[in-house]
């Protein structure tokens, strides 16, 4: 959504929970969904006196992997810091996070934005547009939309620990420490988004990447992925490109793409009204209330929170060698973007088909396995793609070889001379009036005779069921 008078300036913080076996700083099980509260805890994640954190190497590698997948630089020196603040879900009184030396910095993610070609605002120059690449696919007739590329700059990717979970029951607030210390990766963008749609597009991509990497299920409902957009509006004026407004509204902990879209759109409208009245929206932290369909103020910030960050003395700084980083890089495998390109170029798929087939890795893998089987039976990738996309094949219940069989069966019947078959059926029905009247008077067996006649006259191999259906249609 663009606006003539104002341009939205949106940045995003995304928390992704990693699916490592153990927690970030202790050996407790990291999976907490559906577990009995406070069953996966130890002195470390309970923050008991004297307990010390020992970092999970796998989690750090995965954080670096996410960073690399987003085109980030990986500094050879990194460290953990303490973020000091009080909250009942934080048993140590500080969260172990990263402040000024995160694991990954300065990356980017390319979006394909589907724009309305009649949107006037596109004619206006903007900072973001200046970064846009050439439209890859300028026009597709069916959609009448322009696909454009836009780069979202990623500021940093850092590692931290999740907090415990507060459960409010009537007057009581209960704390479940199963979630305390679960590895959390925070991905922070520059304020490069100009619409809710761009944000959603980015989130889908990000979700797809972490799923491809196999480092998180990124399941929104389970809270594996949590979203915090910060939104402000700037006046649509070339002079102001790249300048940030003097306020920022943060919306905390949104757990669905749809809600994030709604919250952003709501905020844009709300802030626009305030600005139109000649006022400045307050710098505040909001929550999204789905029932009311609006953002709700949680706290107004006079200035930035003082978290009194300092280097975590319990964990020595982390020093990588270039070799270690290369090794992590080599574990990444093919990312959605590359796979999509390969599917298009290598298998002659349309962008549309390739996008559907690469959306999830299991589907892409199934597709490729089926291609191998298909080669032996002269079934080409395009046919397989069509079947997978149009026939709603459940890849969890179908083997690649079975899919090829389905395709073969279907194509055999498809290839027969339909007109010839029609003629023969007509002929058989005319030449056998007795059987026809027998069938019409209720003798079901008569159809078997007619089927036999048709199949005898038709020289090609043909599916009996298909013949039966066609005869019944002819008898109507």
């Amino acid at each position: 959504m663009k606006n003539d008078k104002y341009i939205p300036v949106i940045g995003l913080e995304v928390h992704v929970e990693l699916k490592t076996k153990s927690k970030m700083f202790c050996s407790c099980k990291a999976e907490y969904f559906g577990e009995k509260p406070n069953t996966n805890t130890c002195p470390v994640c309970l923050g008991l006196p004297g307990a010390l954190p020992v970092p999970n190497q796998k989690a750090i590698e995965w954080c670096v992997m996410i960073g690399l997948s987003l085109g980030c630089k990986i500094p050879l020196f990194s460290k953990f810091d303490r973020k000091n603040y009080f909250y009942p879900d934080l048993p140590k009184g500080y969260q172990i996070s990263q402040y000024d030396e995160p694991f990954a910095i300065n990356g980017s993610l390319k979006l394909k934005i589907k724009n309305d070609p009649f949107d006037k605002t596109q004619a206006f120059g903007s900072e973001a547009q200046a970064r846009r690449g050439h439209p890859e696919q300028s026009r597709t007739d069916e959609k009448l939309k322009i696909d454009e590329e836009k780069i979202i700059r990623i500021r940093r990717v850092h590692m931290e620990e999740d907090t415990a979970k507060l459960i409010h029951q009537g007057q009581d607030s209960l704390i479940d420490f199963n979630r305390s210390g679960v590895p959390l990766v925070e991905i922070v963008t520059q304020p490069d988004f100009e619409s809710a749609q761009e944000v959603v597009e980015y989130l889908k991509k990000l979700q797809q990447i972490v799923r491809y990497l196999g480092v998180s299920d990124a399941d929104m409902e389970k809270g594996n992925m949590r979203l915090e957009p910060n939104i402000s509006l700037r006046i649509n004026d070339k002079e102001l490109i790249g300048k940030l407004p003097n306020y920022k509204v943060e919306v905390k902990n949104i757990n669905s793409f749809r809600f994030v879209e709604k919250a952003i759109e709501y905020e844009i409208k709300r802030q626009e009204e305030i600005l139109n009245n000649g006022e400045t929206p307050a710098q505040e932290t909001m929550g999204w209330n789905e029932k009311k369909g609006q953002t709700v103020s949680q706290r107004i910030k006079e200035e930035a929170n003082d978290y009194r960050y300092f280097p975590e003395p319990d964990i020595p700084p982390i020093r990588f060698t270039q070799d270690q980083i290369s090794k992590i890089k080599s574990q990444i495998g093919e990312l959605p973007e590359e796979k999509l390109k390969r599917f298009q170029a290598g298998f002659g798929l349309s962008a549309y088909d390739a996008e559907i087939l690469t959306r999830e890795k299991p589907m892409a893998n199934f597709f490729e396995e089926t291609i191998i089987v298909g080669k032996k039976h002269n079934v080409n990738p395009k046919q397989i793609a069509n079947f997978l996309i149009n026939r709603d094949i459940d890849i969890n219940l179908t083997l690649p070889a079975q899919l090829i069989q389905i395709i073969l069966n279907a194509t055999q019947t498809d290839q027969i001379d339909e007109k010839e078959l029609e003629k023969i059926i007509d002929k058989v029905l005319k030449e056998n009036p007795k059987a026809v009247s027998d069938y019409k008077s209720g003798k079901q067996n008569a159809i078997m005779f007619l089927m036999g006649q048709v199949m005898k006259n038709f020289k090609e191999k043909i599916d009996a069921e298909k013949v039966r259906i066609l005869i019944m249609e002819g008898l109507r």
């Binding site: 008991l48 006196p49 004297g50 307990a51 010390l52 009194r308 300092f310 003395p313 319990d314």
Partner: protein
């Protein structure tokens, strides 16, 4: 000689040769505690029942021919060490009723080595203090003169060893909390290299400075204790395993810090230090002056870094857990929380914490440079002998300055061994032997030679 007066080494020999049992030895210690703890206030908790059970098991193991480094030896633990099922107060009302659900790594190691735990010793609350007076459970008294402070913060541990209530006791040293009370009680105190002994399970004071050590009657015993407690621990990411070469004392050069001559050292103490210097020369070592130019900034630097970390480490005692509300913190803890919160605040961090960390690097470099010239350094532990109870309690700055010679080792992460060097007006004083990181073996070597020549450890307080 009474059994409780034995050293670890002597007791191990006696137990092995069945001259006496661990139960007898343990009873002798418990008897001594019963007799004198009321006056000295060395223990917060005495674990008599557990101790006798452990002693019995130890005797059974000894009978079955088992040999473990501390088998059957009665040991006390500073009440900062988490002990499963035994309350651990940190000397503070805030944790008055806190019972840990796990053992600190060092506690586990000591138990696994066969030791008998006789109790938890008194300390300045949260290990904040140099005199032992800052305990919420009352001050510990110096057994050499009960009107004097025993030194802190590991006050109860030092006193328990000095007054033969146990054969050894654990301590923590963040700015001198082992070395100072060791010197004030005529016992041997080791502050190991940072990273040599696991901190896991020991209530944190200032995490980048806390060193886990112990008090013993002799240098040899100190070495035995370190052989049990030291080594890499998978539960403490800052621990390391490193070895250091050893060479004969006759080939060693020992440094004396030139700057310390001007730092207001007590006259009697000065004489005793000179004697110690002469003694080391007599033993064949060469001594020479060295320079630690940034040492003058050590206390200032320490009193920024330490409270900063304290303010963060004490945040968890928020009144939600552990039962006691925050108003139970004493003045000293509150003072450090406020100081530390201030020095870490936005706008002040660069001027204080960051600057202090830079100075810390310079202090480390001073030592690195010095240890290129000498093998070890000797310095006084404190600028004065023990002072009277109450003398400095209302003057925090004066109290802080009693640590001027000890905090440098914590800032640099190097080991320090405090050994007795005699008495000033009937009160014990000590010197510390400092060495490069992981050079404990060298410190023991120097300490042992000096101790054998002087035998100060044979002097006992009249209780």
């Amino acid at each position: 000689m009474k059994l409780n007066e034995l050293t670890i080494k002597e007791a191990r020999e006696g137990l092995k040769s069945k001259k006496f049992s661990s139960v007898e030895l343990t009873k002798a210690c418990l008897e001594q505690i019963k007799k004198h703890n009321k006056d000295l206030n060395a223990f917060i908790t005495v674990t008599e029942k557990e101790a006798l059970d452990q002693a019995k098991s130890a005797d059974e193991l000894i009978s079955s021919g088992q040999d473990l480094p501390l088998l059957g030896i009665p040991i006390a633990l500073k009440d900062l060490f988490s002990t499963k099922g035994i309350k651990t107060t940190a000397g503070s009302k805030v944790l008055e009723n806190y019972v840990p659900q796990y053992d600190a790594t060092v506690v586990k190691k000591i138990k696994d080595a066969g030791a008998v735990i006789v109790g938890k010793t008194n300390l300045d609350a949260w290990a904040h203090g140099s005199s032992g007076e800052n305990s919420d459970f009352g001050p510990t008294k110096n057994p050499w003169n009960k009107e004097y402070v025993p030194g802190g913060s590991s006050s109860g541990s030092a006193v328990s060893v000095a007054s033969d209530m146990c054969l050894a006791a654990t301590g923590t040293d963040t700015g001198g909390s082992i070395r100072l009370p060791a010197s004030f009680n005529n016992v041997v105190g080791l502050k190991p290299t940072y990273g040599k002994v696991s901190r896991y399970g020991i209530i944190a004071m200032a995490s980048s400075l806390d060193s886990i050590g112990h008090f013993t009657k002799t240098v040899e015993d100190s070495e035995i204790m370190l052989s049990v407690t030291g080594g890499k621990d998978i539960m403490d990411a800052t621990t390391l395993e490193k070895k250091h070469e050893v060479k004969p004392l006759k080939k060693m050069k020992i440094g004396i810090v030139a700057q310390y001559s001007f730092m207001g050292i007590d006259k009697n103490l000065k004489t005793l230090l000179d004697n110690a210097d002469k003694q080391l020369k007599k033993l064949g070592a060469n001594t020479e002056y060295i320079s630690l130019p940034n040492t003058q900034y050590a206390t200032a630097c320490y009193y920024i870094i330490q409270p900063s970390e304290v303010s963060s480490n004490l945040a968890r005692y928020d009144g939600i857990r552990y039962g006691s509300a925050r108003q139970n913190f004493g003045d000293e803890a509150k003072r450090r929380i406020m100081l530390g919160t201030y020095t870490l605040s936005a706008g002040y961090y660069d001027a204080y914490y960051k600057k202090a960390m830079q100075v810390r690097t310079l202090i480390k470099q001073d030592f690195n440079y010095a240890f290129k010239k000498v093998d070890a350094i000797i310095t006084p532990v404190s600028p004065t002998p023990p002072w009277k109870l109450g003398e400095k309690i209302n003057d925090p700055l004066k109290m802080y300055l009693s640590d001027i010679f000890t905090v440098t080792a914590n800032l640099a992460g190097i080991p320090g061994l405090s050994v007795p060097i005699g008495f000033s007006n009937g009160l014990p004083v000590g010197m510390q032997i400092l060495g490069p990181q992981f050079s404990e073996a060298r410190l023991f070597q120097i300490g042992y030679a000096y101790e054998q020549a002087t035998q100060w450890y044979k002097q006992k307080p009249k209780l």
